[in-house]
């Protein structure tokens, strides 16, 4: 940076009261035009799916990108009243919940000594987990498939949830470790003076304070499990156990002629994930920033 102070350019307001609120200049209409364009491109597939569910196949064939006229509710009603849709959703929910619980509990327990104990081999142990980031599911999928088969876990929730949790661990530990490291040492000293053991410190202080971090890794694990495809595809053949993505894929091939039905089914599969995400978005983003606001 040059240290020459240039005269303020025309139009730049330099009133102290203004600058506190950040760069609140007059927003040019370009910002809004760009925003509308981005929103359209981003959302159009979702809008197409949701609106398409309200149309008949005849309407879809006649004007593929048109609006519903008249609005038809039978597609959605038949999906909502089908037991298979709810079964898929329930399976996804159970598998994602089990995966998330495993990841968060095992992850925060492992991250604690890796963050706040000094011991020989700490870095090595951490590196073992980090190395896991480099092993994609695909590399292990064939042995996993055979192992799950031999353990008799094919067509069970555990057969999907356990490997999913294991593969989500590296990311979880990588996120949680700096998070736990960032908690001030004074906490530990205070706990120690009050006669708490390290385990007591973990339970009473660390866990309550690492809520935001745990929510972040939990949400990431949940979303990954909810959206997962490869493991359910290979491990779940029983229609009663299939997850929502599998259900959508199956439904779309089985009823490929019924575009409107597929769109209705897909839209209903999208909605829960979107709602969940929208409520969690702030937590994810703040977690990404590693913001510790205890």
């Amino acid at each position: 940076m040059t240290s020459i102070v240039a005269p303020p350019s025309r139009g730049s307001r330099t009133s102290g009261a203004r600058s506190a609120s950040g760069s609140r200049r007059r927003v040019s209409p370009l910002v809004y035009i760009a925003s509308v364009f981005i929103a359209l491109v981003t959302l159009s597939p979702v809008i197409y799916a949701v609106l398409g569910g309200f149309r008949s196949n005849g309407q879809l064939a006649e004007s593929p990108a048109g609006l519903p006229s008249p609005w038809i509710f039978t597609n959605y009603i038949s999906v909502i009243t089908s037991s298979s849709f709810w079964q898929y959703g329930l399976n996804s929910m159970i598998i994602a919940a089990v995966t998330t619980a495993l990841v968060v509990v095992a992850g925060v327990m492992a991250a604690y000594p890796l963050a706040r104990y000094r011991f020989k081999g700490r870095q090595a142990l951490f590196n073992v987990f980090v190395l896991g980031l480099l092993f994609p599911l695909t590399v292990a999928i064939i042995p996993l498939f055979l192992m799950v088969r031999d353990l008799g876990l094919t067509n069970s929730y555990w057969g999907v949830a356990l490997p999913q949790a294991a593969f989500a661990l590296p990311m979880t530990i990588v996120i949680l470790r700096p998070f736990l490291m960032a908690l001030p040492n004074e906490l530990e000293e205070a706990a120690m003076l009050d006669g708490a053991s390290r385990i007591g410190f973990f339970w009473r202080i660390l866990i309550p304070l690492s809520g935001p971090g745990m929510v972040t890794v939990g949400v990431l694990a949940f979303v990954a499990s909810w959206n997962g495809y490869l493991l359910p595809l290979l491990f779940l053949n029983d229609p009663a156990l299939k997850t929502l993505p599998l259900g959508v894929a199956d439904f779309s091939t089985q009823y490929s002629a019924d575009t409107a039905g597929v769109l209705a089914f897909t839209s209903l599969a999208i909605i829960p994930a979107l709602v969940f995400f929208l409520t969690m978005q702030k937590r994810i983003v703040s977690g990404l920033q590693g913001a510790v606001k205890g």
Partner: protein, 326 residues
């Protein structure tokens, strides 16, 4: 233990000293605690990640269909076969193409949109939510919708016709010369949100004072972004590129739903090739060799990238000055 380190462990042992516990029992207790805390994660990780990966290495030197004993040892023949296989070579090329263009397309989009959404305007919060929507949709679900959008005479073609761009129309997913670029487009739609959100988070770390100082110095908005904001985003950008690179090399879900790697292997990736060989043809030995190759390629590129870019001092990049020639 490094003596003299003023860490909690020593603090705790000092504190418990007067309470009549010796240092050695303390050491022992500490080990027990560490074991207790790490055990669940390590067990899960060992059983479901490390063992299968090692197994893949073992299977890869046998010719095996998953049934019966592993007795047909073929050494490195599977690797030789894969490396010489035209479809596998194509898969590697496709993966590298996807990795390159993912970064080349999504990074500018990510930076532009993040800068846009970093300004204060009405509807900014809603926009921040909207841009992340594709990223959280399941690949499969999004893929099913895109297949319908891209079908011949489907909504995309209809929209293009309406805009008078009908001549652009293609058999988007059915034409071998176009399919990979179509997939690329869908991937751009799907994953740009991650870049945007990560960069936005990075922008929160750029102090407002810098902007103010620069604008008082008479810098235009563009100059501020170019000289201050984007250089400060360096670490975020490098981290995102790393994630994007690894993700591109391991791409499976979206391609499987959109094209199954077709038409005529135009969009085959290492992962779709592997799954095809393994599950459809029961070539477990050969597919394992492909898996190990996929890992090696990811690993080499990751290490290369780490040493080239990530091992710089984490912190603020110096804005580029004139090179000092020595």
């Amino acid at each position: 233990m490094n003596p003299g380190a003023t860490d909690q462990a020593t603090a705790w042992s000092v504190a418990s000293g007067p309470r009549g516990r010796g240092a050695s029992s303390n050491q022992w207790r500490k080990r027990l605690e560490i074991t207790f805390f790490v055990a669940p994660a390590l067990l899960l990780f060992a059983i479901f990640v490390i063992v299968p990966v090692l197994q893949a290495g073992r299977y890869s030197v046998f010719n095996w269909n998953g049934l019966g004993p592993l007795d047909n040892f073929v050494g490195l023949q599977n690797y030789v076969q894969a490396l010489g296989d035209e479809i596998f070579q194509r898969a590697v090329r496709n993966n590298l193409t996807i990795a390159f263009f993912s970064i080349a397309i999504q990074l500018p989009i990510g930076i532009m949109v993040a800068l846009l959404l970093n300004r204060k305007f009405r509807g900014q919060t809603a926009m921040r939510v909207i841009v992340f929507v594709p990223y959280v949709l399941a690949e499969v679900v999004a893929g099913v919708v895109w297949v319908l959008i891209l079908q011949p005479n489907g909504p995309l073609d209809a929209v293009l016709d309406t805009l008078g761009l009908g001549f652009i129309g293609q058999v988007w997913l059915g034409d071998p010369s176009v399919a990979l670029w179509t997939v690329m487009g869908v991937l751009t739609w799907k994953y740009s949100g991650l870049a945007i959100v990560l960069l936005l988070a990075g922008l929160q770390g750029v102090p407002e004072e810098l902007h103010e100082a620069a604008s008082i110095d008479g810098a235009t908005w563009w100059q501020v972004q170019r000289k201050i904001t984007i250089p400060l985003l360096g670490p975020t950008i490098r981290t995102w590129i790393f994630l994007s690179l690894i993700g591109s090399l391991q791409l499976f879900d979206m391609v499987w739903i959109l094209t199954k790697g077709g038409p005529v292997n135009a969009t085959v990736t290492m992962a779709t090739y592997l799954i095809n060989q393994g599950t459809d043809r029961q070539q477990y030995g050969y597919a394992s060799a492909v898996a190990i190759l996929l890992f090696c390629i990811s690993f080499i590129l990751a290490i290369l990238y780490q040493t080239l870019f990530l091992n710089r001092d984490a912190g603020v990049d110096k804005p580029r000055r004139k090179k000092v020639t020595r």
